[in-house]
């Protein structure tokens, strides 16, 4: 018997992210978000096809997650006001979505309850009274309204965003910022001479770069809940295959 591989289908990026957090029984905060960043990116990269039109949203969320992860590893990484807002907004949306999702599960259960049926109202005798608004022209216009009322994507040609490229571009931008954050940290620690701390930062940075790289290329994971194996690379010449 062939093994059926079921790819879970997500409603969207929030749905996927919430599942990852709930699976680990975490509360929604930046620590939880940093913890699931790798897995989120791995899942997005592993998606055979994304729900139509949601590609950009999946990638945008990956960018925010990477930023949260980077900041958790490199506290010196500066983030803009806009980014700080994005992070807060993400936490809020996720908590909001969690509540609504819980409510939707309760609704699903509620739908098993007996429904309240319509009555058969009185039948009123049809009575034809001329209505000046009904003309050949107004009906033609109404038919055009019906045609225009169908969703636009049925009429327009499909435009598909290339996911991989978008994620690469996004990480590319982040890489520059991470590099400058590292320079900043070296400068700051140069005079202090606390080797352990400096070492920690470098180690963190390497870990981050590996994460970044893994995000672009591939994540090798041992089984569904196993460790994610990351490829190492030189700091100065990251290769994006």
């Amino acid at each position: 018997m062939p093994i059926e591989v079921k790819t879970p289908v997500y409603e969207g990026p929030l749905d996927l992210l919430l599942e990852l957090i709930e699976k680990r029984k975490l509360l929604i905060n930046d620590i939880a978000l940093a913890a699931v960043t790798e897995e989120y990116i791995a899942r997005v990269n592993g998606m055979e096809h994304m729900p139509m039109g949601e590609t950009a949203e999946f990638v945008a969320l990956a960018a925010t997650l990477l930023l949260i992860k980077s900041r958790s590893l490199l506290p010196l990484l500066s983030i803009t006001e806009e980014e700080s807002k994005d992070i807060k907004e993400l936490e809020y949306r996720l908590a909001l979505y969690q509540l609504i999702k819980e409510a939707s599960r309760a609704l699903n259960k509620q739908l098993e309850e007996p429904m309240l049926y319509e009555g058969t109202g009185p039948t009123f005798k049809p009575m034809f009274i001329p209505d000046p608004s009904i003309t050949l022209q107004s009906l033609r216009d109404a038919a055009q309204t019906l045609i225009a009322g169908f969703p636009q994507y049925l009429v327009l040609p499909k435009v598909q965003v290339k996911t991989v490229i978008s994620i690469e571009e996004m990480i590319d931008k982040l890489r520059d910022r991470v590099t400058s954050a590292m320079r900043l940290s070296f400068k700051e620690f140069a005079g202090v001479g606390k080797n352990r701390e400096r070492g920690d930062i470098i180690v963190s940075f390497l870990a981050l770069l590996e994460l970044v790289k893994q995000g672009i290329i591939r994540a090798t994971q041992e089984g569904e809940h196993g460790d994610i194996t990351l490829e190492s690379d030189s700091v100065s010449t990251p290769s994006y295959e």
Partner: protein, 191 residues
């Protein structure tokens, strides 16, 4: 029904009459509820005791019927008159256009083409004598809506093929409907 308390029987009789919307013989009620006519009589006492003047149960001896008082009848007639006198509105024109260009259609098909529920709109169009219900050859439990001869007369045409851009509009609607249904089947994240 499991418990045959008079209260429960009264509720079931009320619901049955409301759902059917017409007088029903006691014999038929007894059969439908699997109760005796004696049990019906006991339940009728409950109706009498709690009559509030809104909906009243009329018992002519053999049949039962729900009705409202004369005061309400007047008010309802007045509301009906207003509705007859009013233009059918944007919703009415759209539903009528759907039935003219793409019909005959079931209610669900009109809903699908408009993207909104058309129950009330179709009720208005029917009352106004612009469309009528005919049996659905594909499903005897449902109906199809088609334009009336009065509707054609009002437009000064003899058949729907004389409607402006009839063939092209019908073809376009058919194509969009098919594309949308295909899209719905393809996307597992929507229903």
């Amino acid at each position: 029904m499991n418990e045959h308390t008079p209260l429960k029987i009264a509720a079931h009789i009320e619901a049955l009459l409301f759902a059917l919307g017409r007088p029903v013989s006691k014999q038929k009620i007894a059969k439908k509820l699997q109760i005796s006519e004696e049990e019906i009589r006991a339940a009728l006492l409950i109706f009498a005791a709690r009559d509030t003047g809104g909906i009243t149960l009329i018992d002519d001896g053999t049949t039962l019927e729900l009705r409202t008082g004369a005061e309400t009848a007047e008010l309802v007639e007045q509301i009906q008159k207003e509705e007859y006198a009013r233009d059918i509105g944007k919703a009415g024109l759209e539903a009528l256009a759907a039935i003219l260009y793409r019909g005959p259609l079931t209610r669900a098909e009109v809903d699908f083409i408009r993207g909104v529920n058309s129950t009330q709109t179709l009720r208005t169009l029917t009352m106004r004598g612009l469309v009528r219900k005919i049996p659905n050859p594909k499903d005897e439990r449902s109906f199809l809506y088609e334009p009336t001869t009065e509707a054609f007369a009002e437009l000064g045409i003899h058949s729907k093929t004389e409607l402006p851009d009839y063939a092209a509009t019908r073809a376009k609607l058919e194509q969009l409907e098919a594309a949308y249904r295909a899209k719905e089947d393809e996307a597992p994240h929507t229903s």
